[in-house]
């Protein structure tokens, strides 16, 4: 098989259908980028969930004198109640570990969290912060039952789960991933149709050549390969653009989001990005080949 003959045919075909080729490249690029972003959001959510699940704990704030919470009736928790509560929590199903956080540690943590807001830190005294039990859970997703068991116990001011705070964020990310994947599927479909159309135009433009090739006994593969290669090259170029978009998305989107919510360990690695790019490239090229072959079967009878 003469490679340079095929490549010159491919080059001629791509040039003749320049506008269609550009349309294919753009569609493939955007489609594959969407697919990649969807996949990357998915693995990002996985990473961040893992990171958060290690940290997430239920906080049981205890009553102190003058607490505004109605459950306290303005009375502070007694040492006996504290002991009983700790025993109760330890006996509750799904609890892994319980820590007691006194006012001083709470103040230290508070100072750390709000170190940027000096006025607030200065205005807050150690006595202002409540004591609390911190509960680590066996299954971080199953926090409801623990909250129910602890709420309403004597001396408990308020029960809070960090999961409740970040759950909406995760569900938003999940929705974004689904949206990206949906757009990707639609665009992949559009790309397949566009490629089909391009190949059809190509086949029509070159019907003289293919007619003669058939006549002199060129093999089917030899006749069809230039058309398929056109699709593959358009798909590959689109894939390269998609890769660039994905790299940009990682640096300017994912790393920023994680910077806000996740911490360094939840950062999406370049390995994951490379994997995503490989997957999208393969999918893009396979779709191009399939679309070309299906169209050729209809418009290039041998």
């Amino acid at each position: 098989m003469r490679a340079n003959f095929i490549f010159s045919e491919v080059w001629i075909g791509l040039r003749r259908n320049l506008t269609m080729t550009i349309a294919v490249i753009i569609t493939v690029a955007v489609g594959m980028a969407m697919l990649g972003v969807g996949l990357m959001i998915n693995s990002q959510v996985g990473l961040m969930k893992g990171f958060w699940n290690d940290k997430v704990e239920v906080s049981v704030f205890l009553c102190k004198k003058g607490t505004a919470m109605p459950a306290c009736n303005g009375k502070a928790i007694t040492p006996a109640q504290t002991k009983a509560l700790e025993a109760h929590i330890k006996g509750t199903q799904g609890v892994k570990q319980v820590f007691f956080e006194n006012e001083t540690t709470a103040y230290e943590n508070f100072k750390q969290s709000f170190s940027s807001n000096k006025a607030l830190v200065d205005a807050t005294k150690v006595e202002d912060l409540p004591q609390s039990f911190r509960i680590a859970l066996k299954d971080p997703d199953n926090y409801e039952s623990v909250i129910q068991a602890v709420t309403g116990q004597p001396g408990v001011a308020q029960v809070m789960d960090q999961k409740q705070l970040i759950a909406p964020f995760f569900s938003m990310l999940d929705k974004l991933a689904i949206a990206a994947l949906t757009v990707a599927i639609i665009l992949v479909l559009a790309a397949a149709l566009l490629i089909g159309n391009t190949v059809r135009l190509s086949a029509f433009n070159r019907r003289r050549e293919t007619g003669i090739m058939r006549l002199v006994g060129a093999s089917n593969l030899y006749i069809q390969l230039p058309f398929v290669m056109e699709g593959v090259i358009a798909g590959l170029v689109g894939g390269v653009f998609a890769a660039v978009i994905l790299i940009v998305a990682k640096v300017f989107l994912f790393d920023q989001i994680v910077g806000f919510f996740g911490g360094a360990t939840a950062l999406l690695g370049w390995n994951d990005v490379a994997q995503t790019i490989t997957i999208t490239m393969i999918i893009g090229v396979v779709i191009c080949i399939l679309a070309s072959f299906v169209t050729l079967r209809r418009y290039l009878r041998v």
Binding site: I212, V216, G217, A218, N220, I223
Partner: protein
């Protein structure tokens, strides 16, 4: 070389068969004229040899192969052993004479060294020496048909099919075309030529097969075009 046994071909959406129980034998090295009015089945006959169409019934053997048993995968190899020439030349307008002939070898994957050797030979055989770098639109009709014959013959086929090769060419030039076909025939290539041209058939004195409404009505060695015309 070509063997038709009781072959019938009916095209879809048509009641009348294009070929109706045709049986004919063409031996290796023969020169056969296929004559008859338009629509008598000449082109169908040629298309069946190339396996561009399939017969509804009957058996066709070409170069010792039963076409019904030939898989689609092997059809290109059959066509490499059959050259084709048409009334409308079918040259590539953006390639010169040399490139048009070389194209036939390029697309079946022949090495470049081989192409460089045989293409000038066959261009000389059809009488176009010195015109290898002309474009088709710089050539007369007769010269274009010579290019088409060079392309059909460059791979040394066993059979050459010609579908009214002189149909677009004036009588004086046609004689030159026939000389080339005769030269090709003398190399041992079987030639089957469909034609309307009575003068040519009469002057060549070769075997004549006459078709009418898809039936063979005459098969004569050293025949003429026909008394009726």
């Amino acid at each position: 070389m070509i063997h038709f046994d009781n072959v019938t071909k009916v095209y879809a959406n048509q009641n009348r068969p294009a070929l109706d129980h045709v049986s004919v034998d063409v031996d290796k090295g023969e020169f056969v004229f296929l004559v008859g009015p338009s629509g008598s089945g000449k082109s169908t006959f040629l298309r069946l040899i190339l396996k561009e169409e399939r017969p509804n019934s009957g058996a066709i053997h070409v170069a010792g192969k039963d076409l019904a048993r030939l898989s689609n995968f092997k059809v290109p190899h059959l066509r490499r052993r059959i050259g084709c020439v048409f009334q409308d030349f079918r040259l590539l307008p953006n390639k010169n004479v040399y490139e048009n002939v070389a194209f036939a070898l390029e697309v079946i994957g022949k090495p470049r060294r081989f192409i460089r050797k045989v293409v000038p030979e066959v261009i000389e055989l059809v009488g176009l020496e010195g015109k290898a770098h002309r474009m088709p639109d710089e050539l007369s009709g007769g010269e274009q048909q010579r290019v088409a014959m060079a392309r059909a013959f460059v791979n040394r086929p066993m059979i050459l099919l010609a579908d009214e090769p002189t149909g677009n060419i004036d009588p004086a030039t046609s004689i030159g075309i026939m000389k080339v076909l005769d030269r090709i025939n003398r190399t041992g290539t079987t030639v089957v030529m469909a034609t309307h041209d009575a003068a040519i058939v009469d002057s060549m004195r070769k075997r004549v097969v006459e078709l009418e409404d898809g039936k063979i009505v005459r098969d004569q060695s050293r025949g003429v075009y026909g008394q009726a015309y």
